[in-house]
Amino acid sequence: MAFWNEIGNRIAWLFRRSRFDKELEEEVRFHIQARADELQQAGLTGADALRQARREFGSTLRSREEARSAWQMRWLEDLASDLRYAARALRRNRALALAAVGSLALGIGANTTIFSIAKEALFSEPSCRDPQSLVLISVSGNTWIPTSQYRFLEDAHAFDGLAGMNIQLVVNWRDGNRSYRLAGTHVTGNFFEVTGIPVAMGRPIERGESDVAVITHGFWTRRLGGDPNVVGRTLALDGKPYTVVGVLPRDHRMLAGFGFTPDLYLTKDPGEFMLYARLPRGMTRQAAYTRLQPICREMDRAYPDANRKWAKEVRLSAVGGTERLQEEGGSGVMPVVAFFAMLVIITAIVVLIACANVSSLLLARAFTRSREFAIRMSLGGSRGRLVRQLLAESLLLALLGTGAGLLLDLWLTRLLSRVHIPTPLPIELIVQPDRMLLAYSVALAFVVTLATGLVPALRGTRAGIGGALKEGGRQTGQAGYTLRNALVVGQLAVSIVLLSAGLLFIRNLIQATSFNAGFDTTHTIVSTIQGPSDRRGFVDTALERLRALPGVEAASPASVVPLNPFLAFNQPGGQFRPDAGSRTVRVQYNSNAVGPDYFRIMGIPILRGRTFLDSDRLGAPEVVILNENLARRLFGNTNPVGHILRFPNNRDTTVVGVARNCKYITLGEENAMAVYTPFSQQAARGFAHFFVRTRSAPETMVRKVDEALAGLDAASAVETHSMGEIFTGALLPSRLGAAILASMALFGLLLASIGLYGVLLYATEQRMREIGIRVALGATPGDVLAMVVGQSLRLVAVGMAIGLALAAVAVRPLSMFLVPEVRPADPMNFVAVASVLALVAGLATVAPTVRALRVDPAVALRHE
């Protein structure tokens, strides 16, 4: 505490500094006067007494100076004056300062933006009470647990509460005479009580309630117009009235994480849940596990299931932060983490290139000022003081750059939070500036300060007094030269790495865009309909209606839409028995149930056998069509048509055809297996997709198809898109990656070429005299040209060599983000990158060369 009091006293002193000086002087005068009075009483004359008193006191100046320094915060005042000095120096060199701050700001802005997004998407804590004591339960290796098992577990009362949530559901919302598909999260009545999720308006769903809903802020503002009386309003959801009891706050972060944001939470039993348990105070997850394990064994006795053992692979995992990432590490999260990590690294490299430029500029300035430094040192200035002053300059640049970068970050993240990202899953990231971002930026500014300033400050002041004064800085100039050359080589090398990564992603995008998905997307419309009550009859009527539309060539139902993660294939794995024999083949495969016209609509040729027929219906012998990959895997080179195939669930079907391979889940997948079954032989499900082939461009038909289906059943929500739109969604990751990386790479290249330009120009200026002498002695313009271009070539060649060697290793891990056709090791990449760099380097060399050629010996010799 005493420390803070002291700081407070010192700061208070700053405000009465001028009065302090006056008072101190007065006090000292009084002291001397008092002593003189005393001496006078002892018998001295007035003048003698005063003289004697003064002598005894000693230097009043020193005394006052020491008294003052008791109050001063030396480093703070020094810093302030250093910063003032630095600001003046930068103002004199406005273009330089602007360029430095601008390039730092762009790099830092990009870097902090990606940091903010990554932090929000990956590490944010969910909005709930005490996330530390909330765990996600999985039994038999699965987080999805049927309702009956949920009841069993809850009745065991092992924890302070056990609640269920199901995020995977689509809800039909009937508003006026239209239905909309909403992303609904179904929860158990005690969900809000157990998790303690706060609501902004109204109240949460309470235990034992049914037919109530809590809506998210986004849904409330977007779809309900921010209606202030929304609490108590009734929404028709899946044909039943639900009462809105509460609205979630704007910054609600769902337990599921990753920015996933549904439209509403409602009470409904969807058949299976993800279970969240509230651990009693102080209970560790290990202790909770030992408590849960016997309950699961008991559950195995109560619900024996040949296919799964409940007590197997029981796990309790964290709901937020880094812990969750570690636990889910094996699943689909890792590529996302790696992608963000790559972006952070790439943008950090851009910051470093910008730093190298700034450092190079400061270095040049430090050397032109080395004479001044030498004089100051010879007059008793300490080197530490000079280094500090030079560092203040880079500190100021770093602070300005980081500040501007943060503004850019705020603007970008604000934009991002507002723009709806066309992801198939409802994702909303609430990216807000927080303490972590601030700490990160401060650290970044610190690193930038040291990276840009330390070397120039140390090298610029190293010369010592003698050398610099004697030679006018020639010697040190040479040293600084080498250093700046090294910086440029480093920049060029790193740019090569960036360019290689950028090029790979651009090629990836081109490849993905021109990808042959294996089906025709140009004339296809997909309409998804949710919740028809009498499905069988409904599908038939819907098909009739669609076929009756003018311009429609064919229509077919299907259970899955390819290349759409939200409506994706599920990939069951299992053991097939070809010819129902004893040989089993274990495969992961995609499965779709389709109508007879599906293959014609999608332009997927049937290579062998036949397509489905109207006669392949319920009750008729079960039939199946395989894709080429699966056919080869199961039957080798024999024609599978007519063979019996026993499915993993022991169902026997007859193979009637082989369809050409195509893409199912992602464009990048290779050798995917697929099974098609007749739609009409499928068990009924809650929703269906209709594929429609149009004669003209599908965009004009989307509306008509939508209306035709919407008119069929008022309670069903319909969503219609052209296949092209769905394709765009599938391309989004490639587009995003290419856009970010390519722009970063180009920006890095620009900075590096500015660096090269600066160094060459500086070198030319420095060698002006030398060039003049050479020209005077008969050097041809060709010789001068060779001199400048030679230097450029040397720098570029060394930078390129190092860069290519680095890139060859560094881009290798990128293959995890790229389609297989784009190989990071492809030598063509490096050739292309090297040519781009050579071209840009050539451009950067032009101006310095022209400058050197224009040297007039008469003028140059008078130079200096």
Binding site: R10, E27, F30, Q33, R35, S63, E66, A70
Partner: protein
Amino acid sequence: MESNPIPELLPGTLYLLILRTLSHGPLHGYAIVKRIKDASREGLRIEDGSLYPALNRMLVKGWLTSEWGVSENHRKARFYRLTPEGRKQLDKEAGEFDRLVRAIQLVMRTA
């Protein structure tokens, strides 16, 4: 920060002496010097030049406060007063000093 202006004084004892002198009531700078000189029968002399830096360092630490008043010979002078923290510091330093002196005496007598 800590200069050692008076070789005759043990390091750090200047604060102790000032604190002790002020413990009877506020005094101005000159009176402090005089009081120490008199009390030590001229055995201790504080250099005038180092008094004010020391006083100011003690002000910073919050052991003293100062205010302007009128001296015995009717001149304007700054008076220093002990704060509660200053009194605490005095007790602490006096105790430490006593222990130190006793220890040194022990060594001098027995060793």
